[in-house]
């Protein structure tokens, strides 16, 4: 039984990372209708940047986190201005998906070029022994990963529901053209959405790298898993993104405990496709426009 709980815990921790990726995608989608497939790539990129910065500056890992978060908020703002805005002038949403595929490919290539094909890791945020609760072992970094997700969710909720700007964002998400008619600066709103998305990528990347090793091949797997969580949760639904990310991590963990790695992957994909066919709006999606 403790073994099973350990598996569940491990799955949920992985799920926190997927949830953070899906959350970033979801925020950007709801404002701009762009699925940023490259979000998973930014997670790996930010994690490796954190490793290099940590080695270069010699600061403790926890001090690196805010630097990387701010840095990637800026990076994604730049991506919005340099890549997304010019592209969105001309391209349809489907084309935008291809642009983010290109972005993902470019990030993978950049990581390979700069960091090579070596696996990288970082020291945990806080040292200290693992805690054992009822036979289940929890390393301190797990709390940081869960904390990163909670921070992102709470911050986003506060921004959306307790600030004036959040109201603007929600209005834009509900109907971008109507919002623009109301005098809302939609361009600025999506810039903020991309900034948030970058901060979340950096949170996910820096929180997860101490418990694993990341390298350029991880880019695609994170991108695919995050994309799946975002869509399965219902595009644009923040609660759905978090729930789907956690469920996905949990299922992966449980499946791979009892079956082979390949079988788990096929089962996950089948489940997803069935979900899409029978409930195409995802777990918590509200739009009814996805199917005719």
């Amino acid at each position: 039984m403790t073994g099973f709980i350990q598996v569940v815990l491990g799955g949920l921790v992985d799920g926190c990372v997927y949830a953070l990726i899906a959350l970033g995608m979801s925020v950007v989608y709801s404002i701009s209708r762009i699925i940023n497939l490259a979000q998973g790539g930014f997670v790996v990129l930010s994690a490796l940047t954190a490793v290099s910065l940590q080695q270069f500056l010699g600061l403790p890992p926890l001090a690196i986190v805010p630097i990387v978060v701010v840095l990637f908020a800026a990076v994604l703002a730049a991506v919005d201005r340099i890549v997304m805005v010019p592209a969105a002038h001309r391209a349809t949403n489907d084309r935008m998906l291809l642009i983010t595929v290109g972005l993902l490919q470019a990030i993978g290539g950049f990581v390979l070029l700069v960091w090579g094909n070596l696996p990288y890791t970082m020291q945990p945020f806080t040292s200290g022994a693992a805690v054992t609760i009822g036979g289940v072992r929890i390393v301190p970094q797990y709390f940081w990963i869960i904390g990163a997700l909670l921070l992102a969710v709470a911050g986003l909720w506060y921004l959306l529901h307790r600030t004036r700007f959040g109201l603007t964002m929600r209005a834009t998400a509900a109907n971008p053209s109507a919002a623009a008619l109301q005098g809302i600066h939609v361009g600025r709103t999506r810039l903020v959405a991309f900034t948030l998305c970058g901060a979340m990528a950096a949170l996910a990347g820096t929180a997860v790298i101490p418990v694993t090793f990341l390298q350029f091949t991880t880019v695609t797997s994170y991108a695919v898993t995050g994309f799946i969580a975002a869509v399965a949760g219902g595009l644009g639904s923040t609660a759905g993104a978090v729930l789907a990310g956690l469920v996905l991590g949990l299922l992966q963990g449980v499946f791979s405990r009892y079956t082979s790695g390949d079988l788990a992957q096929v089962a996950a994909m089948t489940a997803l496709i069935v979900l899409l066919i029978f409930r195409p709006t995802g777990l918590l999606g509200r739009t009814s426009e996805v199917r005719r």
Binding site: I35, R90, A91, G102, P280
Partner: protein, 343 residues
């Protein structure tokens, strides 16, 4: 049904004028087109003799041309991005391999049987998936790509698992073994021309125009009483059959299939090829395939830069040349000609 001028990039013979023989409308343009096509064919035939070193690249590019060409209807016209073409390449490759290796079927029959199976699978999946719009269709097909790689690796009995299926025979045509790069190239050249001619006809036919209409405004298309799901399923089936044939040729050429050959990255790159060249044109997929397959061979030291350059190239092309490189080029030529004619 109204079509925007951009749609004419594919077939000039659309709309009301289509019953007029084209020669009467634009005699010089058509003559020039024939000359261009003849020159292109002549170049294609002598190329492997002039530059023998690149024949291997041409073979692989031709295979991916077949695969991406099939997608032009679905992606270029109906506006649906399928990220799961590796599934059909896998059915074509592993299917043809298994039929020839275990059941000793002739290679051509195996490839055709696998293509038929791919078509059937696409028909069923199309019925299910093509009710889904935009991103959701892309997601479902991405799921197919992920499942394909896992199945290829996990279904050891059929595929040979992660270490792959080895010693698939070369293609046999009328008693000859198509082994060398050049032989493969010429077979693929003929196959490519046939496939392109087929696609050109479909695009020019009513089906092509209906698909374009669906891509433009699905709502309006269904209001006109068009069964959009049926037409899109048809386009999906066409893409599957061509991808399957491409996959079979890949297997016969490499004489090997493995999960790495059909990874999710490959599924992405097929769509990238199409988008780069121009998803609505016939030459576009060829151009895209040559660029993407040619980049790694451009230089050993360049191999390291290839993923970064390919990604950036896609972003730039999609942003500034949404019709792809070839689509933009032909549009430019047409505008230039129009300007000249008006003077």
């Amino acid at each position: 049904m109204t079509l925007s001028p951009a749609d004419e990039s594919v077939s000039p013979a659309t709309g009301t004028g289509r019953f007029l023989p084209r020669r009467e409308r634009n005699p010089t343009g058509d003559g020039r087109r024939t000359v261009t096509a003849t020159i292109a064919l002549a170049v294609a035939v002598v190329l492997p003799f002039l530059v023998p070193g690149i024949t291997g690249l041409l073979v692989v590019a031709a295979i991916f041309f077949l695969v991406s060409l099939g997608l032009t209807l679905l992606m270029g016209h109906a506006g649906q991005v399928s990220l799961g073409q590796t599934l059909f390449m896998a059915i074509g490759g592993y299917g043809a391999g298994a039929l020839t290796l275990s059941w000793h079927w002739p290679t051509t029959v195996s490839a055709i049987a696998a293509a038929a199976l791919s078509g059937a699978v696409a028909f069923v999946l199309g019925r299910l998936f093509l009710r889904l719009r935009g991103y959701y269709f892309a997601l479902a097909t991405l799921g197919l790509a992920v499942a394909t790689q896992s199945l290829a690796s996990g279904w050891t009995g059929l595929t040979g698992g992660p270490s792959g299926m080895v010693a698939i025979p070369s293609l046999q045509l009328a008693g000859y073994t198509v082994f060398s790069d050049r032989a493969n190239y010429f077979v693929l050249l003929v196959a490519g021309i046939l496939a392109a001619a087929f696609m050109a006809n479909v695009k020019r036919s009513q089906t092509g125009r209906v698909l374009t209409a669906i891509g433009h405004d699905p709502g309006a298309a269904s209001m006109l009483g068009i069964n959009t799901a049926r037409y899109k399923t048809m386009a999906f089936v066409v893409s599957a059959v061509l991808a399957s044939l491409g996959g079979s040729m890949y297997a016969f050429y490499l004489r090997f299939m493995s999960p790495e050959v059909l990874s999710v990255t490959v599924a992405f790159s097929i769509v990238i090829m199409l988008a780069l060249g121009g998803a609505r044109t016939l030459v576009g997929p060829l151009l895209g395939a040559l660029i993407i397959q040619g980049l790694p061979i451009a230089g050993q030291s360049f191999a390291l830069w290839e993923p970064l350059v390919a990604g950036l190239l896609l972003i730039v092309v999609m942003t500034y040349l949404p019709r792809g490189i070839w689509g933009t080029f032909t549009a430019y030529l047409r505008n230039a000609a129009r300007r000249r004619d008006s003077h």
